[in-house]
């Protein structure tokens, strides 16, 4: 588990360098990515399918990013973009290609479908969390102004 954390942390920190994340945020971006990946592996280990796990991992990334964005007073994108990348199904894209080359039509179809659904799961997770965060922020603001 610790090993997975370290690997994911280093990968995300590497992405942060490529995308020029501000220096002070590189460690927190690495933490976001590592937590997302840990959630993903935890769900996989507890027997969930890869699509649900991807959804959960992306939810974790988006949630922590929104919290960090409020905390550091910065854009949430700064954390989400490097954090999400490890969950994007690159390995599945590769296995799809491998199946195509081997001429295994059935496996191609199943792996490709899984890849597309995983990407979809990431998109939906980001959407849900971002909308919820927006809604909560609006409600909090409204409550505060009403009290005044």
């Amino acid at each position: 588990m610790l090993q997975a954390f370290v690997f994911a942390f280093c990968t995300t920190a590497g992405f942060s360098i490529l995308f020029h994340v501000p220096k002070k945020h590189i460690l927190s971006a690495g933490f976001v990515g590592a937590m997302g990946w840990m959630t993903y592996t935890w769900f996989i280990a507890s027997g969930s399918g890869s699509i649900l796990s991807c959804f959960a991992g992306s939810c974790a990334v988006a949630l922590i990013s929104e919290l960090f964005a409020r905390f550091f007073k910065d854009a949430a994108t700064v954390f989400i973009i490097p954090g999400i990348l490890l969950l994007v199904p690159g390995a599945n894209m590769y296995y799809t290609m491998l199946a195509i080359l081997e001429g295994d039509v059935e496996r191609t179809a199943s792996v490709a479908t899984e890849t597309i659904l995983m990407a979809g799961a990431i998109a939906v997770a980001l959407l849900v969390v971002a909308s919820a965060a927006k809604l909560l922020a609006l409600m909090a603001r409204k409550l505060l102004t009403d009290r005044k």
């Binding site: 490529l18 995308f19 994340v21 999400i84 590769y94 195509i100």
Partner: protein
């Protein structure tokens, strides 16, 4: 007639928007920033329409004044989160304090001049990404080294092709093909133990994560035009990665290599 100060405000707002768009910001953030800057300078009616390839800005001075529309074509995109973060802070500062327009222009010029991290550090970043991903996807220690070589080679090639303004599809296609080829060559030389994980690691830096994220965020904010275009970008990148890897694998067996 539009006066000098208003002209400067326009330049300021347009430049901020252009910089953000070129750094890979979401549409709603760009539109919000441009509107806020114009409103802060007491322009009563502002209407912004931003797409990934251009910004349209329309200003109205009220019934007595004239209406002005400006179009800025945006060419070339990249990702620079530091710039997005800085401009975000800048727009907040500009609206909340009494910064003058000239000072604002000077700050934007400074932000535009920010360079990304040095090339060697970025190559190291690519190597770190590739090697640790290879470990995550079941590689051994020697694959760690192979993946870092393949990853940084691919990144260097992508930077080189970027200099010659190669289009997105061809750039990612050739980088992924090169990464696959290097991985297979290292494997054939007896260095790697699991070439699957090495290839997965070295194509990791080209994955369309940013396009995917921004497509979702734009769609969420109701910017359907940009949402769809970013979504298509993500699909194009995915197709170019898989076809690049596929061509390289096929070519490798064609040349007599085994895997």
């Amino acid at each position: 007639m539009i006066n000098r100060i208003q002209k400067k405000v326009l330049i300021l707002a347009m430049r901020a928007g252009e910089l953000m768009m070129k750094s890979g910001a979401e549409i709603y953030r760009v539109e919000d920033t441009v509107t806020r800057i114009c409103k802060a300078c007491k322009i009563p009616y502002v209407e912004v329409f931003a797409t990934p390839t251009g910004i349209f800005l329309s200003l109205d001075e009220g019934l007595d004044g004239e209406m002005h529309t400006f179009i800025k074509r945006i060419k070339g995109t990249g990702i620079d989160l530091e710039k997005i973060s800085r401009i975000n802070h800048f727009s907040r500062e500009f609206t909340n304090t009494s910064l003058s327009v000239d000072e604002g222009l000077a700050i934007l010029k400074m932000i535009a001049g920010i360079k990304p991290y040095p090339l060697l550090l970025r190559m190291l970043g690519a190597a770190v990404v590739a090697s640790f991903t290879a470990l995550i996807f079941g590689g051994a220690l020697q694959d760690f080294i192979c993946a870092s070589i393949a990853g940084s080679c691919a990144y260097l090639l992508s930077m080189l092709l970027d200099k010659f303004d190669t289009n997105l599809f061809i750039r990612i296609f050739s980088c992924c093909a090169a990464a696959t080829f290097v991985s297979l060559a290292l494997f054939a030389a007896g260095l790697g133990s699991n070439f699957n994980s090495v290839i997965i690691g070295s194509i990791m830096i080209f994955l369309p994560g940013v396009a995917l994220t921004n497509a979702v965020r734009d769609t969420l904010a109701g910017d359907m035009v940009s949402g769809t275009s970013k979504g298509i970008e993500a699909v194009v990148i995915a197709v170019s990665i898989t076809s690049g890897v596929g061509v390289a694998l096929k070519l490798w067996t064609f040349l007599g290599g085994a895997y």
